[in-house]
């Protein structure tokens, strides 16, 4: 572009400023406004619509990202929550257990790590063994409920013979002070045997350890589910159901 052209531009601009200053271009401005304003309004509306659409798309993207982030955080929180629930359950179990005092004997908290089936016998496996002071014949309890006794011990784990094991025998009494011998039956239930015919036994009564044969007094073994009374037999017999479903129980205690 030549200098002459630029000078012309500057000259025209100054002339226009002067003319506008004295109001001689009002008519031209008005005509322009009539033509240009509808165009501008239409364009502005369209632009706003496009802008709204774009912002919606943008927000959808942002919301998707936000949703992903929240899902991620939610997963982390759910995982943390699961851990905290486990800790809370453990704390509750410990607190409950601390409320039950059994002759000031030491309790070792153990965890149920599954079952081991040897032939017809089913043993509960716990995560502590001789390294933690676990010994054979120690009793396993939860609160004041008797679960079984230690049958075999390795340095890191142990097998628990459950009350339902046919080899488990424990002298017991019912809530009405009826004496008997509790024996495991088919790994599902117990039988309270050796009940004298004149003694009263009722369904729903609790069966507890009598404190004989080296077992502590007052450990709950189960609840009477059925009573078998036959005049021909020397003794009565009752079917006793365990109180706890061990499949769902995690924390237990070994009574040392």
């Amino acid at each position: 572009m030549r200098l002459k052209s630029i000078a012309l531009i500057i000259f025209v601009s100054l002339a226009l400023i002067v003319l506008d200053r004295f109001g001689t271009l009002v008519g031209a401005k008005k005509v322009f406004g009539i033509v240009f304003e509808p165009l501008q309004i239409g364009f502005s509306r369209s632009a706003r619509k496009v802008s709204d659409e774009l912002s919606t798309i943008w927000e959808v993207g942002k919301l998707r990202d936000r949703n992903r982030e929240l899902e991620y955080n939610n997963a982390i929180l759910a995982a943390e929550n699961t851990v905290l629930k486990k800790v809370q359950e453990e704390n509750k179990t410990l607190k409950d257990q601390l409320d039950i005092k059994i002759k000031d004997r030491k309790l070792v908290m153990v965890e149920n790590i599954g079952f081991s089936t040897i032939g017809s016998s089913k043993y509960l496996m716990i995560d502590k063994g001789s390294d933690d002071g676990i010994k054979k014949d120690q009793l396993v309890i939860l609160k004041d409920i008797l679960i079984g006794k230690i049958n075999a011990v390795t340095p890191t784990s142990a097998n628990v013979m459950l009350l339902t094991d046919p080899d488990f025998k424990i002298p017991s009494i019912t809530s009405n002070k009826t004496k008997g011998l509790l024996v495991g039956s088919y790994q599902k239930e117990m039988r309270l045997t050796k009940i004298l015919p004149e003694d009263k036994v009722e369904v729903g009564e609790m069966v507890i350890s009598s404190g004989e044969a080296g077992y502590p007094l007052g450990l709950v073994a189960g609840k009477i589910d059925q009573v078998n009374k036959n005049d021909k037999d020397l003794f009565q017999e009752a079917i006793v159901k365990p109180l706890i479903n061990l499949e769902k129980t995690q924390a237990l205690f070994v009574l040392q």
């Binding site: 572009m1 630029i6 531009i9 025209v12 601009s13 226009l16 002067v18 003319l19 506008d20 632009a47």
Partner: protein, 114 residues
């Protein structure tokens, strides 16, 4: 050549509408700079006159203020090209930014004093 320039004239209207609604940058000035630097048309002066007047009318500015700003900027660009170096791709961006700043300041000043 006439149709070639018509394309720019239509572009100016669209750019004015754009810069009034979507992009808050003086796109018309940038187009004028592009035309002045790159185009070989002999109708550059007409185009600049048309663009600047249209810009003033669309923005309700004092008529001629944009044209004076454009003229001043083009004068500086002319002097730069004459005495320093031709504006190329490397210097185009700083030239455009400085021009936009100069336009803002000059037009604002002119509209205040007139």
């Amino acid at each position: 050549m006439y149709f070639y320039m018509v394309r720019y004239y239509i572009s100016v209207i669209i750019l004015i509408l754009f810069q009034k609604t979507i992009v808050p940058v003086n796109l018309v000035l940038l187009l004028c700079l592009f035309v002045v630097i790159k185009s070989t048309s002999t109708r550059k002066v007409h185009f600049i006159l048309y663009s600047a007047i249209l810009l003033d009318l669309a923005n309700n500015l004092v008529l001629g203020s944009s044209l004076l700003s454009f003229g001043s900027i083009l004068l500086l660009v002319f002097l730069y090209q004459r005495f320093v170096a031709p504006v190329n791709l490397r210097t185009a961006a700083p030239t455009a930014i400085l021009s936009l700043i100069a336009y803002q300041s000059l037009t604002l000043f002119l509209n205040k004093i007139v």
